[in-house]
C-alpha cells in the first residue's frame, strides 16, 4: 500500500516538475524597437562634494572602453555613415558610453518620488509605439518625441502641448529638470559634459554645443579631416575603429585643433575613416560642466564640476548649501544608446545636510576624494514603462503615486528590471498565461474526474 502510494506520488510530482521545468518567459523580439539586455541590473558608484564656488561629482561604473561614436567610412568610391542610434547594441558597436543624471530643486511634481519615469511617455522615440515622424514634425517641429515633463501637456497625449505663454510661465517658475550628460566621445575629449534640460522636450542649454556634425549633407562628404601636419595622418582606418584597437590615449575623435577642411581630391583609400562628430569647446550655458575621466581595467572614473550657481536660471538648477535636491542617474554602456540604458530610483541630494546622498563641504580647490566613501547606486533596465502607464488603472500603484509614495516603497531594484521586461513583452506573455491557467486547471480537474470514474468502474 505504502509503496504504491509513494510510487504514484513520485510519478505525479515528476510530471508536474517536468512541465514546470519547461516553463519559460516569452522570447525577446528585436522587431518594433524591442531589445532586452542580458543583465537587468547594474550599479554606479558616487561621491559628491562642494566648496564655495562649485559642486563636484565623482562617478564610477564598469564598461568596455566605449569611446567610439558615429564614423564616416570611405567605401566603394564614396563616403558612407555608420548607423546612428539603433535598438539595443549598436550593430558596429560604435556608440559612446554615457553617465547622466536629472537634477531638480523640488519644482517638478513627482520627480522626488518617481524620478526619470515622469519624463517617459507613450509614442516616444524608440518605444514600440513610436509616433510617426510626420506627426511629430507637424506638432513639435522635431523628428521624434523625446523626454518631456507631464506639466507641459494638457493631457497624457504628447500632442496636447500647452500654449507658449503657459510654458513660459512654468519655465520661469523653475518647472524643468537639469540634465547633465557626460559623453565619452561627444564631450569628454574636450574636457566637458553636455548640459541639457528637460521641459517640453529634451533641450540643450543655450550656447555652443560640445559637438558638431562632420557630415556635409549636400556633398555627401565629410566637412573636416585630420591635419597630417599635426597628427601624422589624414584619416583613421576602419580596421582600427571596427576592431576597437584605439584607446582613450589615441585620437579616436576629431577636434578643430587637429582638423583641416576636407579635401575631396585626396586619393582616399578603401576603409579610410573619419569621426562623424567634430568635438569642440562648448560655450555659454552649454559649457557649464567641466569633466575629467579615466578608463582603467574596465572601469570609468568620471569627475564632473559645475558652479553652484552657473547664472543661467532658465537652463540650470542653481544649488545652495544646506538645501536638499533630487537626483536620478542613468548609465549608457556596452554600445547602447537612447532608451537602452540603466537607470536609478530618485535620491535626495543634500548639500551639507541630511539626505540619501550627502555632498560634503570642503575648503580649497581640490576635492578630498580619498577621504570620501563611495556610495553605491543600484541601477536597473527600465524597459518601456511609461508615465502614462504608471498613472493609469493598469498600474496597481497608481494611487500610491498620487499619494506621493516613492516607487522604492513598493518595488526592489531586482524587481524593476524584471517587471520592465514583463511590461515590454506583455502582448506575448498574456495569451500564453491564459493558456497556462486553462491548461493547469483542466489538467488537475481532469485527473480528479478520471480518478473518480476509476472507482465507479470497479463498482
Amino acid at each position: 500500500m505504502w509503496q504504491t502510494c509513494l510510487t504514484g506520488l513520485t510519478g505525479l510530482t515528476l510530471v508536474v516538475l517536468l512541465l514546470g521545468a519547461t516553463a519559460q518567459t516569452a522570447q525577446v523580439e528585436t522587431q518594433q524597437n524591442r531589445w532586452i539586455p542580458e543583465e537587468l541590473e547594474d550599479e554606479l558608484r558616487v561621491k559628491v562634494v562642494f566648496n564655495r564656488e562649485a559642486i563636484f561629482f565623482k562617478l564610477q561604473f564598469t564598461s568596455v572602453e566605449g569611446i567610439y561614436h558615429d564614423y564616416l567610412r570611405y567605401e566603394g568610391g564614396s563616403w558612407v555613415t555608420t548607423r546612428g542610434s539603433s535598438p539595443g547594441i549598436h550593430p558596429d558597436r560604435l556608440y559612446e558610453d554615457r553617465v547622466s543624471f536629472l537634477l531638480d530643486d523640488g519644482s517638478v511634481r513627482h520627480f522626488a518620488t518617481q524620478g526619470g519615469y515622469i519624463t517617459i511617455h507613450e509614442e516616444m522615440r524608440f518605444l514600440a509605439n513610436q509616433a510617426p515622424r510626420a506627426d511629430v514634425q507637424r506638432v513639435l517641429g522635431q523628428d521624434d518625441v523625446r523626454k518631456y515633463l507631464p506639466e507641459t501637456r494638457r493631457t497624457a497625449d504628447w500632442r496636447s502641448l500647452r500654449r507658449p505663454e503657459e510654458l513660459e510661465e512654468l519655465r520661469q517658475s523653475g518647472v524643468f529638470l537639469d540634465l547633465w550628460q557626460w559623453r565619452a566621445h561627444r564631450s569628454d575629449p574636450v574636457g566637458f559634459a553636455d548640459d541639457n534640460w528637460v521641459f517640453e522636450y529634451r533641450n540643450a542649454d543655450q550656447g555652443k554645443s560640445p559637438f558638431a556634425d562632420n557630415w556635409h549633407r549636400d556633398t555627401q562628404q565629410p566637412r573636416f579631416m585630420y591635419d597630417i601636419q599635426k597628427v601624422g595622418f589624414q584619416a583613421l582606418t576602419w580596421e582600427d575603429v571596427a576592431n576597437h584597437r584605439l584607446s582613450k590615449r589615441d585620437l579616436y575623435y576629431l577636434t578643430p585643433e587637429i582638423a583641416v577642411p576636407f579635401d575631396p581630391n585626396h586619393p582616399w583609400q578603401e576603409g579610410d575613416t573619419l569621426p562623424r562628430r567634430l568635438v569642440q569647446m562648448p560655450e555659454g550655458s552649454r559649457g557649464d560642466i567641466r569633466a575629467h575621466s579615466q578608463w582603467q581595467n574596465g572601469v570609468w572614473d568620471v569627475e564632473l564640476r559645475r558652479a553652484l550657481d552657473p547664472g543661467h536660471a532658465l537652463d540650470d538648477k542653481s544649488l545652495k548649501p544646506k538645501r536638499v535636491y533630487h537626483i536620478a542617474f542613468a548609465v549608457h554602456k556596452n554600445s547602447t544608446g537612447s532608451r537602452w540604458h540603466y537607470t536609478s530610483f530618485p535620491y535626495s541630494l543634500g548639500l551639507d545636510t541630511d539626505a540619501d546622498i550627502v555632498a560634503q563641504r570642503f575648503e580649497g580647490q581640490a576635492p578630498p576624494w580619498e577621504e570620501m566613501p563611495w556610495q553605491t547606486i543600484p541601477l536597473f533596465y527600465p524597459g518601456q514603462v511609461t508615465w502614462t502607464f504608471l498613472t493609469s488603472d493598469a498600474h496597481a500603484g497608481k494611487a500610491g503615486i498620487e499619494e506621493g509614495r516613492p516607487c522604492a516603497s513598493c518595488h526592489t531594484v531586482a524587481e524593476m528590471g524584471k517587471y520592465a521586461v514583463e511590461h515590454e513583452l506583455k502582448e506575448q506573455i498574456l495569451p500564453r498565461w491564459y493558456l497556462t491557467v486553462a491548461g493547469g486547471m483542466l489538467f488537475v480537474l481532469g485527473i480528479a474526474v478520471a480518478g473518480a470514474r476509476l472507482v465507479q468502474g470497479q463498482r
Binding site: G8, D393, K426, R432, T436, M441, V449, G451, A452
Partner: protein
C-alpha cells in the same frame, strides 16, 4: 480600500486555516486507514473532518478570490506578473480541492481503501495545500510583508517576479489531457464502449 484589504485578509486566513486542517486530516486518515490497530478507528472521523473542511475551505477560497479581485482593477492584475501568478496559484489550488471533493463524493468510503485513489487524493491535497501556501506568500509580498517561503521557492529556480507560463505546446498538452480525463470520467459507459450485440 482598507476595508477591502481587511476582508481579503480575513477570507485568505480562513481559507488557509481550514485547508491546513484538511491537509492534516487527510494525512491522519491515510495513516489511520493503513493501520490494523485501534488507531484505525480514527480514520472515519478524520475523513469526515477532511470532507467537511474541504467543503468549507473551497467556500472560503471562493470568497478570497472575490475579495482578492476587488483589490485592484482587472487591468492592473493583467499588467502585474506577481498579480497574475497569484491568480494562477489560487485557481490551481481551487481545482485541486474541488478535485479532492469530487473524488471523495464519487468514491465515498472506498476512497481510502483503493491504493490508486488514496494516491490521487493525497496528491491533490498535498498540491492544493502547497499552492495555498504559495498564494499566501505572494499575497504577503503584495501587501508589503514578504514571507521566507518565497525565498525557498526562488531558491529552487521559480521566479515569482515573472509570469508563470508554459510553452504553448505544454499548455495544449495539459488542456488535451484534462479534457480527455473529464470526458472519460463523465461520459456514460455506452459512449465509450460499444454495446454487446
Amino acid at each position: 480600500m482598507e476595508a477591502r484589504q481587511a476582508f481579503h485578509a480575513i477570507t485568505a486566513a480562513l481559507t488557509t486555516g481550514m485547508l491546513a486542517l484538511v491537509f492534516f486530516a487527510v494525512l491522519t486518515t491515510l495513516v489511520a486507514a493503513a493501520r490494523a490497530d485501534r488507531y484505525r478507528r480514527l480514520a472515519p472521523y478524520a475523513d469526515g473532518a477532511a470532507t467537511l473542511g474541504a467543503s468549507l475551505g473551497i467556500l472560503f477560497l471562493l470568497a478570497a478570490l472575490v475579495t482578492g479581485f476587488a483589490q485592484w482593477p482587472w487591468e492592473a492584475y493583467l499588467h502585474s506578473p506577481i498579480g497574475k501568478n497569484k491568480i494562477f496559484t489560487a485557481l490551481i489550488a481551487l481545482m485541486c480541492w474541488a478535485g479532492f471533493l469530487w473524488l471523495r463524493w464519487k468514491a465515498g468510503d472506498q476512497l481510502w481503501r483503493d491504493r490508486r485513489l488514496v494516491t490521487l487524493a493525497t496528491f491533490l491535497a498535498l498540491v492544493g495545500f502547497a499552492y495555498i501556501v504559495f498564494t499566501n506568500s505572494i499575497g504577503g509580498h503584495i501587501a508589503g510583508k514578504p514571507s521566507g517561503f518565497e525565498r525557498l521557492v526562488m531558491a529552487v529556480g521559480i521566479d515569482t517576479r515573472r509570469t508563470f507560463t508554459l510553452p504553448t505546446w505544454g499548455s495544449a498538452l495539459l488542456i488535451l489531457l484534462g479534457l480527455a480525463g473529464i470526458a472519460w470520467g463523465v461520459l456514460p459507459s455506452r459512449w465509450r464502449r460499444p454495446s454487446p450485440p
